[in-house]
Symmetry: C2
Subunit: 339 residues, 2 copies
């Protein structure tokens, strides 16, 4: 390393061009009119000296921070790792840095975004609320700062990037129907925003295959393993119990698998289980779980691009993006219905 930072003044000295003109060249100011030769000289000097504009000075002048904050209480979810990865990539490409905030309990604080914003460090937010969904989204809206919901939805006004939950679930249901399953359970939420979208996909899948919707097979459960266990207990206690289950994520699927073992129900022999969000954990479960795959990094990527558009106020661009599933990854947890 060593040595002083190279500043725009150094480039000016080296080339004999004024700092103002250099700044304009760098920012492609259309007002500027200099010979291409001069531009070339400047570019060369910049490369030689290794000049990089100081983001602090730039930020101070332009009243922007060049940083985005991503608020993700549920970073434990393997899905978020992929999402963060995509978001990082987009931020890097667009010249922003990204803070990850609100991990863990801290993330349940509805005022977290306000706190981060008031420290003047951030131009906008990517938001994935946790359990206090409604309250937190309301807080974000009140904030009035540029924000994009990631894998969350409130209304068409609030910018969002979501998965096409509906067609993903329908995909899983069609797979189970192909295997001859007619009684399929749904373990998820019937209230949270994503839950209702997935439930809609569940109904759509059944309808596509002419299967009857039986609301006793739908259980509103928590999104963790305990939730999956409770849900599976409920639905498997029915006299005419389902031959297959759809679980809204891998933790719920893991809970269902555990209950199946308790009840000595072979998976997939006596019970097929399909899940959502394909990812590394799906393959670690026993048996490995068939699940719907999405390009989750793209979700993060698009969210950052949308956020930066909002910040710069440039072009309209869509205020809602829906990302379709890439397909279904069939593993050992599903097979043809027996009998």
């Amino acid at each position: 390393m060593a040595g002083k930072r190279v500043t725009i003044a150094d480039v000016a000295k080296a080339t004999g061009v004024s700092p103002g003109a250099i700044s304009r060249i760098l920012n492609n100011d259309p007002t500027l009119n200099v010979r291409d030769e001069t531009k070339e000289t400047v570019r060369r000097a910049i490369a030689e000296l290794g000049y990089v504009p100081n983001p602090q000075a730039r930020g101070l002048r332009l009243a922007r921070s060049g940083s985005l904050a991503m608020i993700v209480p549920e970073i434990n979810s393997p899905a978020f790792v992929a999402i963060i990865q995509g978001a990082q990539r987009a931020a890097y490409e667009l010249g922003y840095s990204m803070l990850i905030g609100g991990i863990g309990e801290e993330g349940e604080d509805p005022n977290l975004a306000a706190r981060i914003l008031s420290s003047n460090r951030v131009d906008g937010f990517l938001i994935s609320t946790g359990k206090q969904e409604a309250r937190q989204l309301a807080a974000v809206q009140r904030l009035g700062a540029p924000a994009v919901l990631v894998n969350r939805y409130l209304n068409e006004q609030l910018p969002h990037v979501v998965l096409d939950d509906k067609s993903g679930v329908a995909l899983a249901i069609n797979h189970l129907a192909d295997l001859g399953h007619e009684r399929i359970g749904f373990l998820g939420s019937t209230r949270r925003f994503l839950g209702t979208r997935r439930l809609a996909g569940f109904k759509q899948g059944l309808a596509e295959r002419g299967l009857r919707f039986d609301k006793r097979l739908v259980v509103d459960c928590g999104y963790d393993r305990e939730g999956g266990e409770a849900g599976a207990h409920t639905v498997l206690a029915l006299a005419d119990r389902p031959t297959a289950l759809f679980a809204t994520n891998h933790l719920v699927a893991a809970g269902a698998l555990r209950v199946a073992r308790e009840l000595a129900l072979d998976v997939p022999g006596a019970l097929s289980i399909a899940s959502f969000y394909d990812g590394p954990v799906a393959d670690l479960l026993t048996p490995a779980v068939t699940s719907v795959a999405y390009p989750l990094d793209q979700l993060g990527y698009e969210a950052v691009r949308m956020l930066v558009r909002l910040i710069t106020g440039e072009g309209a661009g869509p205020t809602g993006i829906t990302i379709p599933p890439t397909g279904l990854v069939v593993r050992q947890s599903t097979c043809a219905v027996s009998g």
Copy 2:
């Protein structure tokens, strides 16, 4: 939100105290000598107006960015989620923001840190190298920038925060010995830095219990599930195969579990398996895996504190910290040796 940012000038206007004095009050300048009453007035005005110093202006003036970068190729590992969480907490407390960089393949680029540094955005680094361990650590050292290795080690000079791998592994081995196991296999690395530390703990544990070290039971394998599978195959193919295995992480443990199933070896009936880094995944495996627990968030927390000390040049402070295990979480994958 709304409205202009509150600046130090606003506080000056409101209180009649000069901006310079206000700055000194905020930064506890010992040279300053004003009446406590004045200080009080200023503090009250700051609170009322909601003044927060602009970090950009501060950074520009002080030639520091107020940001740290954490480079973690292996964010997929559940261990890193906890580490990041602790690091975030410390950064927040100390007034820094934290960027997560180098996720995924990008992280294998030995020049990543240099690239981030040259963009002037960062005061220091937390480093957890990926596969190219030696090469990357060398690059960091060449950089000359403040850096702390997180869960990595090169030598005593390069600041680091590590786990006490040795006593953690010894803990697991003692547990297995308590259960009557005498032939215990080791699936991990015998070359990477952490691997050799863990192997030392393995030997120590055996020695403590008077068990013979048999190097045929030590397999140098990759740190993913495929590695665990290959390692387990090797060691379970022995005529006098081990009755228990120590796996260096949960992915390796998952691989070993899979091989045990293939070979129709009941776990834990015919084979006990203990692993490292207790975390959410340990509980999702079948059977749930006994593993050594560490306060991983503390690892991240201490690393950030050390890094900030290096940056501010304040007080000596230790250049190496070792974090002991909190204990062993016993689950269903280990039981008394049969026969």
